[in-house]
């Protein structure tokens, strides 16, 4: 599904077309659920966040602005923020049974259709993330999925703040280089 198809569905949603929302749900529920589950690590709560995300889309479809970015990152940002809010309300320990990057063969570039404009870039980003050393990927995941600041991450991991800052910076620089299709300049990066 390309951006133009999504824009058409969003237009129909604004007119009250429930089938348009169901079509988007059929297409993207797994992605929303995967992000919510990654944050919450619990099935029922992840289901609730998934449904709440789509109901929010139902009520607020007009807030998507294609000039400011692509649809999927926008949708999944809503889902992630909602999941982090739920996590905070539940006052849960985000690191309970942590699940860092796994070797699940189902990847995002496969989950997103080939006509998605950023299909290839998603693959590059995923590969670059998989190649990050754990010490760089872990604080990035803690910030992204659990909304933690780098001082919270440092306290949680028992590391000096400067170390966490450096690891986040190095990891993000490599991901940025991958996204831009550049070769990383970090000598520690894999060839």
């Amino acid at each position: 599904m390309g951006e133009s198809a999504e824009l058409e569905l969003l237009r129909r949603i604004q007119q009250g077309d429930e089938e348009a929302l169901v079509t988007l749900h059929r297409r993207y529920a797994a992605l929303v659920y995967s992000v919510a589950y990654r944050v919450l690590n619990e099935q029922m709560a992840a289901e609730e966040v998934t449904q709440d995300t789509f109901l929010r889309l139902w009520h607020r479809a007009e807030t998507f602005d294609p000039a400011r970015g692509a649809f999927v990152p926008w949708l999944l940002t809503i889902a992630r923020r909602q999941a982090i809010d739920t996590l905070r309300k539940q006052q849960r320990d985000a690191l309970r049974d942590p699940v860092f990057l796994d070797d699940n063969p189902e990847t995002w570039e496969n989950a997103l259709s080939a006509d998605d404009s950023q299909h290839l870039a998603h693959g590059l980003l995923r590969d670059a993330a998989a190649a990050l050393p754990d010490e760089q990927r872990q604080p990035i995941e803690m910030a992204y999925f659990w909304g933690m600041s780098h001082s919270q991450i440092a306290a949680r991991l028992g590391l000096p703040l400067g170390t966490v800052k450096t690891r986040i910076r190095l990891g993000m620089e490599k991901l940025r280089a991958a996204w831009l299709g550049e070769k990383s300049e970090d000598p520690a990066s894999p060839s």
Binding site: M44, R60, F145, L180
Partner: protein
């Protein structure tokens, strides 16, 4: 630049894009960004990465019942989207007051009944309560929805016309090994989940009294999960797989 050099601020851009800076550093970066076009370009690149870090989440298939659940929720709140939001808020406020009034009434009646009736009598037999409610012509019935792995499971929730008593009757619950138990969960319309107690399967059919402490309209659904003996270690969430659900207001 708030005491920080340009290089120091540049080094903070990746964490800024992730939303990981502490407030004082965030303010310093924002003040500097407005004056540095090169930094704005670099930030846009980091933000493009940061907003796609969902690729780090393992892909999971969405539970199949979610689509039907979405249709149910849409049907429950059917209206034109743009108008619905504002009207919904006003209506919700009214419903909250109504629910609060009903809640006070129900609690009052329940407390009075308990004071009058609590003479140390044994807890009611769930099967007998089910039969009593089922005999009422105006009892409400809700089908249970089994998890995908529990294809043989069937049953219903039955609610007394008065709305204050509810029992689930279910057949073909899976056999559990020692050290595991079933646990009932109640999800209210505010999204709060609480335990409704643990139970074991009984013979051909299992009856479970749903401990309603509010009117049925205050709940979205009930569900049963498989938990370690003694129940989930958490009061507000299950830890094991869901066996079935019953939707009452979504």
């Amino acid at each position: 630049m708030n005491g920080m050099s340009r290089d120091e601020l540049l080094a903070l851009l990746p964490a800024y894009a992730l939303g990981a800076l502490d407030p004082d550093e965030q303010a310093a970066v924002e003040a500097w960004l407005s004056t540095d076009a090169e930094a704005q370009t670099a930030l846009a690149e980091y933000q493009a990465v940061a907003e796609r870090l969902y690729v780090l989440a393992p892909i999971r298939p969405a539970p199949p019942h979610l689509e039907a659940d979405l249709r149910r929720r849409l049907a429950a709140g059917r209206a034109v989207p743009d108008r619905r939001l504002s009207q919904g808020r006003a209506g919700r406020r009214g419903r909250v007051w109504l629910a609060a009034a009903v809640l006070i009434l129900v609690i009052g009646v329940a407390v009075l009944s308990r004071l009058l009736a609590d003479n140390g009598s044994p807890p009611p037999d769930p099967g007998a309560v089910y039969a009593t409610i089922a005999a009422q012509a105006d009892a409400r019935r809700y089908a249970i929805e089994a998890a995908e792995e529990q294809a043989n499971l069937r049953g219903e929730l039955i609610v007394a016309a008065s709305g204050d008593r509810a029992v689930i009757r279910v057949e073909q619950l899976p056999a559990l090994p020692p050290g595991q138990t079933f646990q009932l969960w109640l999800l209210d319309t505010e999204g709060t989940l609480r335990s409704g107690g643990i139970f074991r399967a009984q013979g051909e059919a299992t009856h479970i009294i749903v401990p309603l402490d509010r009117p049925l309209t205050a709940y979205q659904r009930f569900g049963v999960s498989i938990e370690p003996a003694g129940g989930s270690p958490y009061p507000d969430r299950p830890t094991g797989p869901v066996v079935f659900r019953v939707y009452v207001n979504s």
